[in-house]
């Protein structure tokens, strides 16, 4: 399934997902800890540097950023108008997050979905002591990715049925067949998994379904 990943030959793209996510976390903490404008400035500079290093088209990056930036600007505008004083402080707060959002977006644009999913699965391994089963999480993530297109189709069908009947009213009545279908699918899928030898009791033990 296609993600938001934008392929380029760049050192940023080549960095492992863990390094990028860890870096983002560190920068976020640092920026929020630094006093006011310095945080925003630091994050902004790092963002600009990563943007250049990643060789991403600025237009595409900006398109990703448009929604949050427009929203932040509007909210900020309102406040500046209504509250009058103290807007400098708000400006700094908004700028800080705008810069962090830029950085986060860059991480997403330069990291393949599957690399990120693999990273999550490894992180779940750390949660094993508290009862999290990384192999099961991995299987559920794979199943979800597999079934999103199928359920997208089902939802579209429901919407079409809705339009075909010329009623936009009784939406609930259209959700029931969709849900019943999902629950029937669950039965079939469970049987198929077990028929292929999947046994939840030994998932997560050594050398099992983990990639």
């Amino acid at each position: 399934m296609l993600g938001l990943y934008l392929h380029r030959e760049s050192p940023v793209h080549r960095l492992p997902a863990g390094a990028k996510l860890g870096g983002l976390l560190l920068v976020t903490v640092a920026v929020l800890a630094l006093p006011g404008a310095w945080g925003a400035l630091t994050a902004g500079l790092i963002g600009a540097a990563v943007l250049v290093a990643a060789r991403l088209p600025a237009g595409r990056v900006l398109a990703e950023l448009r929604a949050p930036v427009v929203m932040l600007t509007l909210l900020f505008g309102f406040q500046a108008l209504l509250a009058g004083g103290g807007w400098e402080e708000t400006a700094v707060a908004v700028a800080r997050f705008a810069a962090l959002i830029l950085l986060a977006t860059l991480v997403t644009l330069t990291t393949r979905v599957m690399d990120m999913v693999d990273l999550f699965e490894r992180l779940f391994g750390l949660l094993r002591p508290v009862g999290v089963n990384p192999a099961k999480m991995a299987l559920m993530l794979a199943l979800t990715i597999r079934f999103i297109p199928l359920l997208g189709e089902q939802v579209r069908e429901v919407r079409m049925a809705q339009r075909a009947r010329g009623v936009e009213r009784n939406i609930a009545a259209l959700f029931v067949p969709l849900l019943v279908k999902i629950l029937t699918m669950a039965d079939d899928l469970t049987a198929a998994l077990e028929a292929r030898g999947y046994d939840p009791a030994d998932a997560g033990t050594k050398n099992s379904t983990q990639r």
Binding site: R146, L189, S208
Partner: protein
């Protein structure tokens, strides 16, 4: 050999199979019967996907109740709808799924997956998302995902019902060439003409049993 001894199966209160005893020894066996006659229930009993309410099912002497895992290793199962059999997003990963569940070594998995990709003409889809394949290709992948486990028996539950004519023929062709013992639940009477044996179920009872040349006409007559 798969042997059923005095099988009764009920969902809740309602029995759907009544005191069935069968010895399945032939290489090609068909299970025929109308909707709701109990075909899928019977098929699922054969590899321990469901356990009988009463009686025993044994595959080469292994009881589905006590040796479920060993039975499922021996008996593969292909369902009607390929959409709910493909569990991983891409073709290659999906083929590897059952092998990983069986904890085979990595190089053995790679070898078998590569073999299956080639044998079933799936090579060019290798890294492709399964949802972009046609219905026939999906069913081929679903079948390959079972055959790659190298079971001794393969049960098919209406494998061609959702396919168009061309893909139906492809699946029948594939089925013909299998070295395994094959048990097929189907409404496709053409498919079963050269089978060794065909059973006809009605309301959870076997009403005809023998070579298709005899039982298929009997089945058609009962329908009419």
């Amino acid at each position: 050999m798969i042997e059923l001894r005095s099988i009764t199966h009920a969902y809740g209160e309602r029995p759907v199979l009544h005191d069935l005893s069968l010895r399945l020894t032939e290489r090609r066996i068909a299970i025929l019967g109308g909707n709701g006659s109990g075909k899928s229930t019977l098929a699922r009993l054969l590899n321990g996907l469901i356990l009988p309410t009463a009686g025993t099912v044994a595959v080469d002497g292994l009881d589905t109740r006590s040796d479920g895992r060993a039975v499922r290793q021996r008996v593969g199962f292909v369902f009607q709808n390929p959409d709910t059999q493909i569990v991983y997003p891409t073709v290659e990963e999906d083929l590897a799924f059952g092998l990983k569940a069986r904890k085979l070594p990595k190089d053995e998995i790679a070898r078998r997956v590569a073999g299956a990709l080639e044998r079933y003409g799936l090579d060019r889809y290798r890294h492709q998302p399964a949802h972009q394949m046609s219905g026939g290709e999906k069913q081929l992948l679903a079948i390959a995902g079972v055959l790659v486990l190298e079971p001794a028996y393969v049960i098919f539950d209406e494998p061609t019902t959702l396919l168009d004519l061309r893909n139906r023929r492809k699946v029948i062709e594939l089925l013909r060439g299998l070295p395994q013992t094959v048990i097929v639940v189907t409404h496709d009477l053409d498919m079963v003409r050269d089978f060794d044996r065909a059973l006809v179920l009605e309301d959870g009872r076997v009403v005809a049993d023998g070579p298709p040349a005899e039982t298929v006409p009997a089945y058609i007559e009962r329908l009419g």
